[in-house]
Every structure is written in structure tokens, then in C-alpha cells.
């Protein structure tokens, strides 16, 4: 009973937050409702869903969503672990170097995307183009030839510091004696990393994966600012597809159907992925 009372505010608020929009979204998703055209109205049945589910764009978008999440997770977890090991060593100016390397996490996603788009990856006057030319390579036209890769790079840049921060914290609690003992037994640095450091980081890595996944599934600003989902559908993820329906089409019915599909997906992800990850957190 006490447990119920204490959880009540948080749970009921989130329920409201979930349910009120959810019910409205569900309701809208069965309506013909276009903001710009009040003449179109009335009950639509499952039209909005058939329209969306038969749209080839939906499957492309889902594929892109998974690619984006998967790659960014892989890059940030692997990169973050290696960097954590590196930045845990004693070296000159460690404090300042750490500050520099975690900075991207504090930057607004829109600003990050603008920096990368206009100043780094611009094919004519970007820094990368200049570097490539300097070494005699052809400048890469990032956002048109490698759109999803470019987005993955930007998002990884934003989230790598987060992974590093968490993993660095975890690595600091590693027992020095244990490492020392292993070294005495003749274990090399790679063996130590593989058999001692990595198992120790398991829980922290689960935390990183879980939090990042929550945010990565709804990546939007980076795509909006840089590629607008293109060229074609090459960098459209589910969040962006719903954006197209909701704020370019102003098709509230269609967008709501998209929202419902996203909710269903979110729950599938929650059930499968998070549960496997969450098991590591229960120790």
C-alpha cells in the first residue's frame, strides 16, 4: 500500500502523459483529419494504417532506424571503452584533456548538426574537404554520397563522450590489487583488458546501451538540419517519417497512425532489447 502511494505521483503522471496523448493519437489515427483542409473529415477506418503500412518508405525508415541505432551503439561502446582505458592512465594534462573530450555531450543537437554540416563536412568550404584536398584526395560529398554514414558520425560524436564518462567512472572503481595480481601472474595488457577490465565494465556498458538506445530511437534534429532525410529516403528514420506526415503533410490522421506504430515498436524494443540488457543491471 505504501509502495503504491509513493509511486503514485510518478506513475500517474506518466500514465497521463502516455494515455492522454495516446488516446487522442489513437482517436486521430482512425480519422480523416488534415489540418490544412477541414473539408476532409470523418471516420477513416483503417485507411490511415493501410496507407502507411503499404508505403514502401515505412520499411526503409525502419531499416534506417535500426542501422542508425546499431552503428552508433557499436561505435560509442567500443570507442568509449577504449577511450576510457586510455583516459584512465596517468598522463600530462589529463584533467584538461578529459574536459575537452567530454564537451560534445553538452552541445545542443541542433548546434552540433549545424557545425558539422556547415563547417566540417561541407564539400566546398568545410574543414574535412580542405584536409582531403591537402593530402591529394578528392573531397567527399558527405551528405549526398554517404548520408546515413554522415548522420552516424555526427550522432556518434555527440554520444561518445557520454559513453566515455560512464565507462571512465566505472573503470575507476576497478580494484587495483586485482590488476596487480594478474600482472604478477604474467598477464599482458590485452589479457588484463579482456579478462578483468571488460567483465568489470559489463554493468556500465548495459547502462550506456540502455540510455543511448532510448535517445537514439528518436533521433530527429540531426537529420532535420543536415539531410532532411534524403537524398531520396537514404537517411529517413521513423521519427523523421512521422515528422513528414505530421508537419509537412499536416496529415494528423496519418501522423497519428505513424505515432501508434512507433509506440508499438517502442514497446517491442522495450520488451526484447531492454529486458536482455536490464538483466545485467540486476546484480
Amino acid at each position: 500500500m505504501r509502495s503504491f502511494l509513493l509511486q503514485a505521483p510518478a506513475v500517474s503522471l506518466l500514465l497521463l502523459w502516455m494515455l492522454v496523448p495516446l488516446c487522442m493519437t489513437l482517436w486521430f489515427s482512425f480519422q480523416r483529419y488534415n489540418l490544412l483542409n477541414p473539408m476532409i473529415s470523418g471516420f477513416a477506418g483503417v485507411d490511415n494504417y493501410t496507407y502507411l503500412l503499404t508505403d514502401p518508405a515505412l520499411w526503409t525508415a525502419m531499416g534506417n532506424t535500426l542501422l542508425l541505432v546499431g552503428w552508433v551503439l557499436a561505435i560509442t561502446v567500443v570507442g568509449g571503452t577504449l577511450l576510457a582505458v586510455l583516459f584512465q592512465q596517468e598522463f600530462f594534462g589529463r584533467g584538461i584533456a578529459r574536459l575537452l573530450v567530454i564537451a560534445p555531450f553538452f552541445i545542443m543537437p541542433t548546434v552540433s548538426a549545424l557545425i558539422w554540416k556547415n563547417m566540417m563536412m561541407h564539400p566546398v568550404n568545410g574543414v574535412l574537404a580542405w584536409l582531403f584536398n591537402l593530402f591529394g584526395f578528392q573531397a567527399v560529398d558527405w551528405f549526398s554520397s554517404l548520408p546515413l554514414t554522415s548522420i552516424i558520425i555526427i550522432v556518434s560524436w555527440e554520444w561518445l563522450p557520454f559513453a566515455l564518462l560512464i565507462l571512465l567512472t566505472a573503470i575507476q572503481s576497478l580494484d587495483d590489487d586485482q590488476v596487480e595480481a594478474a600482472r604478477m601472474d604474467g598477464a599482458g595488457p590485452i589479457a588484463i583488458f579482456w579478462f578483468i577490465t571488460l567483465p568489470h565494465l559489463k554493468r556500465a556498458i548495459s547502462v550506456v546501451i540502455m540510455i543511448e538506445m532510448i535517445f537514439l530511437l528518436t533521433i530527429f534534429a540531426e537529420i532535420f538540419v543536415t539531410t532532411s532525410g534524403g537524398p531520396g529516403l537514404a537517411s529517413t528514420n521513423l521519427a523523421y517519417l512521422i515528422y513528414i506526415r505530421a508537419l509537412l503533410d499536416f496529415d494528423v490522421g496519418g501522423a497519428s497512425a505513424g505515432g501508434v506504430i512507433a509506440i508499438v515498436l517502442a514497446n517491442i524494443v522495450a520488451i526484447f532489447l531492454i529486458r536482455t540488457v536490464a538483466r545485467h543491471l540486476e546484480t
Partner: protein, 437 residues
């Protein structure tokens, strides 16, 4: 309906009693240069109208458009003055969302407004927004490069000629690309330009029964021409280049030719913003098979939503910001190349403007010859040169723009891109109920 209308009325009464001294109106506008100048002149307006205070919401175009549409469609009432374009005005006016502007003060001189622009902002003969600036499209070129290559500009260039010139001018090793054109997907970005290209190749967006015609031969010809030329003579990364990016490229001397909005002329001609100010040439937008619809017509205009509770104050403001007096004020304070172009005959008759802006007559002619009611060689059911005035167009235009950008990036062939675009447009039109079969 009645009970709903009572609430705003009560609100008005409450507000007027509270704000007996100064009424604050919220003005939403785009962050383009001309609007920034307007924002900068707030003090001048408030001095002349001490009973009105201005509260500015300045946003980038895409964000502003979605923000305003959400608000007006839900009757949110957050804004008193909205900056919208010729695309939105007729659609919103038909929905009854905008306040008709019929009894304008005498000295406003409505008849001084350029006719195509005025028509574009009217619905059934009533004006629903006042033009802040207007534009068409035209061709900019580098006189020095043309001379060096021995090219003679013609009175009315054709796209075939342009292709030949671009081939000659293209010199990537020295950082000069033959031609810069929009490639960034969006109905107001690459499709604004491509619509004019398709028009002049004899194509159209929809047939008389609203069936999309994106896989028609005219579209194929126009888009193939565009993709081929951009691949040969265009800058790298063309699919990220919109108006802005191209302006940056052209004004830093990287393009031989650029076909885009007339409103760029003032900035290209300003030596503090442009490296090519003294080498700049102007020509009409090129044509192919027909001159119809070869250059667009657009205007950013100020409108008052029905949901505003300060309509009178808002009207005072929009008549001030689009008046002859405002043009003079900007001319004196900021220089004559900075005055908002393309709205009033009197601006073009002004000798000071003619002297400061040698491109003035080109621009005026381009605007006066653009005809949104007759944009294509074939008859069309819609109004608009570079758009069709239906709500669904934003989405269709943007999706088609995406497909063509994919073709430009080499991910699809032009044929694939256009047939995908046709299918997607057809789905949208069918879903919106324009036809059943």
C-alpha cells in the same frame, strides 16, 4: 460555434481594459535580411505609434512555417501578424483563417502594388495579406568569365545555350564550377527551381483532373537535362545546396552561372557581402520549349490571423511595414539596395533606386511577366508557377524533391526517381480524395 466565439470576445474586452496604455502585438517573421531590417526599425514604428508595442518572433523559414501552420489551424491565437508566402495566402484565406484587408487607408495606395503580386495575395478579389517583398527568378552570370571564354550573352538565353556555356566555364581545378543550381530537397528549394524548368519544357504538375504527371516525357526531359548538367558542370555536394548555399558559392566566386531568386541581386551587388559585385551580369531566366512558367513568382507577405485579438493594431503595423514611407525609410537608413524589392511600382520609378540598383528593370520585368494563373503550355487546374495552391502540395513537392535529389546523388536513375515520385504523389492525391479511380 456561438459559445466558442464568446470566449475570444470576452478575452478582447479583458485585454483592452488591461492594456489601456500600450497594446503589444506579436509579429512572427522569417530571419531573412529584409525582415531583420524591419525588426531593426522597431523604434521608428513605436515612436510613430506610441500606443503599440512590437514583440518579435524571428525563426528560420522551415521552423516558422510549421509553427505558424500548427497555430493557425488549431486556432491557437499566439500571433497577431504572420509572415507567409503566396503559397499559403490563398489556401488559408479559403479556410477563413485570415482577416480580409479591404478598408486600407487611402495613402496606402493599393494600386501601386505590382499586379501579379497583388493577385497572388488575393482570393476572390479581396486582399488577404500585404506584400513585404516579392521576387521572381533570373540568371546571374560572371561577366569576366564570359569575356575570357569569349561567350556572348543573348537577349533571352535558352537552356541549350546555358548548357554549352556551363561546359566552357567549368574549371574545377581553379575552384570555378560552370553552373550552380538548387539541389537541396524541398518544395521551396529544389522543386521551386525544377518546376520552372519543367514548365518551360512543356510539363505540368497535374492534369486537369488532378492526376500527377511526374512521369511524363516533359518531366523526364527536363530532369535528365538538369541531372546531366549538374553532374558535369555543377559543384560537389549539389544535393545540399539550397538558395543560401548557392548564394554563398556564387558570391565567393565559385560559380559561372546561377539561376535563382531575383531577391539575391541586392546582396550580390553589395561589395561588402560579395566578391563578385563588380563582375556581376544579369539575364532573364533561360527558356526551353515555351516561355510559359520559365520564371517563378513569390512574395513574403504580412497577414493577420482571424485568431488575433489585436487586429486593428496589427493592421496599423502591416500597413506601415509595406508602405511607400517604409521603403523610403529603409532607403535612407540602410541604403537603396537594401529596400524590399518587388512590391511597388513607385519603388521602381524612384530614380534613387534605379541608380543604386541597375538590376531593377530586369527584376520588374521578370515579376510582371510571371503568370501564376497560366504557368504551363497545357491547361492546369491549379494556380502557381513553382507550386500548386493545394494543401497537399507541400508534402508532394518535398517528396518529389527527395526523389530527384536521389537521382542527382546517383542513387537512382532519373526514370526510377520519377516513377517513384509519380507513385508517391499519386498515393497522396488519392488519399486526399481528389480522385477515386
Amino acid at each position: 460555434m456561438r459559445s466558442i466565439s464568446l470566449i475570444p470576445a470576452a478575452g478582447v474586452a479583458l485585454l483592452t481594459s488591461l492594456a489601456a496604455h500600450a497594446e503589444t502585438i506579436t509579429v512572427a517573421t522569417v530571419n531573412n535580411n529584409d525582415m531583420i531590417i524591419m525588426q531593426g526599425l522597431t523604434d521608428e514604428f513605436e515612436k510613430a505609434h506610441p500606443d503599440i508595442k512590437l514583440d518579435w518572433v524571428v525563426l528560420e523559414e522551415n521552423v516558422l512555417r510549421q509553427r505558424l501552420t500548427t497555430d493557425i489551424a488549431t486556432n491557437g491565437g499566439q500571433f497577431d501578424v504572420m509572415t507567409i508566402g503566396t503559397y499559403e495566402v490563398p489556401i488559408w484565406a479559403r479556410q477563413g483563417w485570415l482577416t480580409a484587408l479591404d478598408d486600407l487607408p487611402k495613402d496606402y495606395d493599393e494600386n501601386d502594388l505590382l499586379k501579379p503580386i497583388r493577385d497572388g495575395l488575393s482570393q476572390k478579389g479581396k486582399l488577404y495579406a500585404l506584400p513585404f517583398y516579392g521576387e521572381s527568378s533570373m540568371m546571374y552570370y560572371r561577366k569576366d568569365l564570359f569575356e575570357k571564354a569569349g561567350i556572348q550573352m543573348t537577349e533571352q538565353p535558352t537552356w541549350k545555350e546555358v548548357r554549352g556555356w556551363a561546359d566552357k566555364l567549368n574549371d574545377p581545378d581553379n575552384g570555378v564550377y560552370g553552373i550552380c543550381l538548387r539541389g537541396k530537397p524541398g518544395w521551396g528549394e529544389n522543386m521551386a527551381f525544377l518546376s520552372t524548368l519543367v514548365n518551360t519544357y512543356g510539363g505540368r504538375w497535374f492534369d486537369e483532373k488532378w492526376h500527377p504527371e511526374i512521369d511524363s516525357p516533359a518531366w523526364k526531359e527536363a530532369v535528365s537535362f538538369y541531372v546531366d548538367m549538374m553532374k558535369h558542370d555543377g559543384p560537389p555536394g549539389a544535393t545540399s545546396n539550397g538558395f543560401n548555399e548557392n548564394q554563398a558559392l556564387f558570391s565567393s566566386g565559385k560559380c559561372g552561372i546561377w539561376v535563382d531568386a531575383t531577391s539575391a541581386a541586392g546582396r550580390l551587388y553589395d561589395p561588402s557581402e560579395s566578391k563578385v559585385a563588380d563582375k556581376l551580369g544579369f539575364a532573364p531566366a533561360p527558356v526551353a520549349e515555351t516561355p510559359k512558367g520559365s520564371h517563378w513568382l513569390w512574395s513574403w507577405a504580412l497577414a493577420i490571423p482571424q485568431s488575433s485579438q489585436s487586429k486593428d493594431a496589427a493592421k496599423t503595423f502591416i500597413t506601415w511595414a509595406t508602405s511607400k514611407g517604409y521603403v523610403d525609410l529603409v532607403g535612407e537608413k540602410k541604403g537603396w539596395t537594401s529596400v524590399p524589392p518587388g512590391t511597388r511600382k513607385s519603388t521602381y520609378d524612384n530614380p534613387k533606386y534605379q541608380q543604386a540598383a541597375p538590376f531593377a528593370s530586369f527584376v520588374l520585368k521578370a515579376i510582371e511577366t510571371a503568370d501564376p494563373t497560366d504557368p504551363s503550355a497545357k491547361p492546369v487546374p491549379y494556380t502557381g508557377v513553382q507550386y500548386a495552391d493545394i494543401p497537399e502540395f507541400q508534402a508532394i513537392g518535398t517528396q518529389v524533391g527527395q526523389m530527384i535529389a536521389a537521382a542527382l546523388a546517383g542513387q537512382q536513375t532519373v526514370d526510377q526517381a520519377l516513377s517513384n515520385a509519380q507513385r508517391s504523389a499519386d498515393r497522396t492525391m488519392r488519399q486526399a480524395g481528389y480522385y477515386k479511380d
